[in-house]
């Protein structure tokens, strides 16, 4: 079976700045694989080890993402693919999902796609559902446990971990599954494997390769600002811990916070 894992590169933390053209400036912040995507990679590797076939790590990004793709290869992905084109630069989530869907259709033999539940920078969680609908496939989001993947019956079953409940669902393949942090413990690639993939360059497909012209987006960001600063706080002082505690509770009650 052919499993694809979608990978996004994100800044390690969100101490970002805003450029004058409204793009987000992540200069000086280390770039990493989106944390939830690491769990998706691990899940892909585990099922690939069980059922064999191909495990492709796929990114829609730029050359500067190759380091993350290599890390996924070192973890255990068998193949890689980078979708890159200047025309992909300003896509919104749904348009990006349509590009990835075009690549999946071109690959032709994909049975299952794992994604992280959301990226830690944009945080919308819209990519996996948008990809599933763009492909016309089943979707199973917020999966905390994959119970079964049956290539012969073309089905999967999984637990969706929602706010207060856990749903058990079955779905037909092909499917898009988004995973949460609880699902597994991503492996660390060995130094040997890291060395082995250090010079691997993923094949790159651009818009023309995918037969995409005139990509359109339905959203446009017209303003971006940092959050308003929080009003400066009040230090609760006192001669000892008991006095501080009493004063804190006084202030919480006076301010009708409790």
């Amino acid at each position: 079976m052919h499993i694809v894992v979608c990978l996004k590169q994100v800044p390690r933390d969100n101490s970002v700045k805003i450029n004058s053209d409204l793009s987000v400036n992540t200069d000086g912040i280390e770039k990493i694989i989106n944390l939830f995507d690491e769990y998706a990679i691990e899940e892909g590797i585990a099922w690939n080890e069980k059922h064999g076939g191909k495990l492709t790590v796929l990114s829609l990004g730029t050359d500067s993402w190759v380091e993350q793709i290599r890390r996924a290869l070192a973890m255990g992905a068998s193949d890689s693919l980078l979708l890159s084109d200047p025309a992909f630069a300003d896509l919104d989530t749904i348009a990006a999902a349509r590009v990835v869907a075009a690549a999946i259709n071109k690959l032709g033999d994909v049975d299952l796609i794992f994604c992280g539940r959301n990226s830690t920078d944009d945080e919308s969680g819209a990519f996996a559902p948008a990809l599933a609908r763009a492909l016309g496939w089943s979707q199973v989001t917020y999966v905390g446990k994959m119970l079964d993947l049956n290539p012969a019956a073309r089905t999967l079953s999984a637990e969706r971990h929602l706010e207060t409940t856990i749903e058990t669902v079955t779905a037909t393949l092909p499917a898009v599954v988004s995973v949460i942090k609880d699902i597994n413990s991503p492996r660390y690639p060995s130094l040997l494997k890291i060395k082995k993939v250090a010079k691997v360059d993923p094949p790159v497909w651009n818009a023309a390769d995918l037969g995409l012209t005139g990509l359109s987006v339905a959203t446009k960001i017209v303003n971006r600002v940092p959050p308003p600063p929080r009003p400066s706080g009040e230090r609760i002082d006192g001669p000892d811990a008991a006095a501080k505690v009493k004063k804190l509770v006084d202030r919480l009650l006076e301010s009708q916070i409790i």
């Binding site: 987000v24 830690t120 559902p129 763009a134 199973v140 779905a171």
Partner: protein, 324 residues
């Protein structure tokens, strides 16, 4: 295309708070857009939900009632919503931001080739067009979205962004619609409550602990009792979740939950940027830390410099005696 359509979520047969908030804002936006306010009820057993939506000010409540809609499935609920959208032709579709609604909203927007904004905290109409405001990057970036004309917009709105609709029926009607035969590719075979789960995103008070507590035993000795004294829930920093002290469900931050309670108490939490991302929009923040330079103090409404091991038991006792 005209007007607004609100997806009604239900909790125990009642209209969920988020949906009442959306009906309130939906009325204002429908007026600004010069169109009707519709509500959408999708269920196998809607009870009096449609009538309730009428009293919340809907001009028309579209209902899709079918045994196949007993549980949420993307195919079932998006399929149902598309029937209502085809009938109502709204320019704006509003829903909440629960996991289920994110699954639904993004799928619906893709099918409709609509504009999508998730985690919206404000909406307005300018020059006849919809504008959505949403935070990203852990609240460090606040973006304003415009949408391409001629396409509908799906906006998934954060809780407590808007005031609830004040019940005031406008003589709206209920219009039952028929669910077409759908290809249901997923099936819900079981639902269970999460054992001991707290819905952190619903709690009015959250007490979170971090590495400053020293060890797991101390966390459980100090944090849950304090949370209980406040009548709240307890959370944790990523550091101690990764260290295995506390289950992931309790993690607040960039890779955990985003919360904005009335009061957030950070005890022994240094305030790493990943943690601030999940709680900086709390209305009030109390920080307790022995390091006066800890970044958590920069967002604190009230800061107490001191040893959590000394302060937390005193605070729990003080609250118990004064709050009864």
């Amino acid at each position: 295309m005209a007007g607004v359509l609100v997806f009604i979520e239900q909790v125990g047969g009642e209209v969920a708070t988020i949906s009442r908030e959306l009906m309130g804002k939906g009325r204002e936006l429908a007026q600004a857009l010069g169109g009707p306010l519709g509500a959408l009820v999708v269920s196998n057993d809607p009870g009096a939900l449609a009538e309730r939506a009428v009293t919340l000010g809907a001009d028309t409540v579209y209902t899709l009632v079918d045994p196949g809609l007993a549980s949420y499935t993307t195919d079932g609920y998006v399929g149902a919503a598309k029937v209502a959208v085809a009938t109502a032709q709204p320019v704006l579709i509003l829903a909440g931001t629960s996991f289920q609604m994110r699954d639904f909203g993004a799928a619906l927007a893709t099918d409709l080739d609509a504009g999508l904004a998730v985690d919206v905290t404000d909406l307005k109409v300018e020059d006849g067009a919809i504008r959505a405001i949403r935070p990203s990057h852990g609240g460090n970036v606040i973006s304003t979205y415009h949408f391409t004309a001629g396409r509908p917009v799906v906006a998934l709105v954060r809780k407590q962004s808007f005031s609830e609709a004040t019940a005031g029926a406008r003589g709206g009607s209920i219009q039952p619609l028929t669910l077409p035969t759908l290809d249901m590719r997923t099936q819900v075979t079981g639902v269970r409550e999460k054992g001991g789960a707290v819905n952190l995103t619903d709690a009015a008070v959250i007490v979170s602990g971090g590495r400053g507590l020293g060890d797991k035993e101390n966390y459980y000795k100090l944090i849950p009792p304090l949370a209980e004294a406040f009548g709240g829930a307890y959370g944790a920093s990523r550091a101690i979740v990764d260290a295995g002290w506390v289950p992931y469900e309790h993690q607040v931050g960039q890779t955990g939950k985003t919360v904005s309670p009335k009061l957030y108490v950070a005890a022994g939490v240094s305030g790493a940027i990943q943690h601030l991302a999940g709680m900086r929009t709390s209305r009030n923040i109390v920080a307790i830390n022995k390091d006066p330079e800890a970044p958590i103090f920069r967002v604190a409404t009230f800061g107490v410099v001191g040893d959590v091991n000394e302060i937390l038991p005193l605070l729990t006792r003080e609250l118990r005696s004064r709050l009864g």
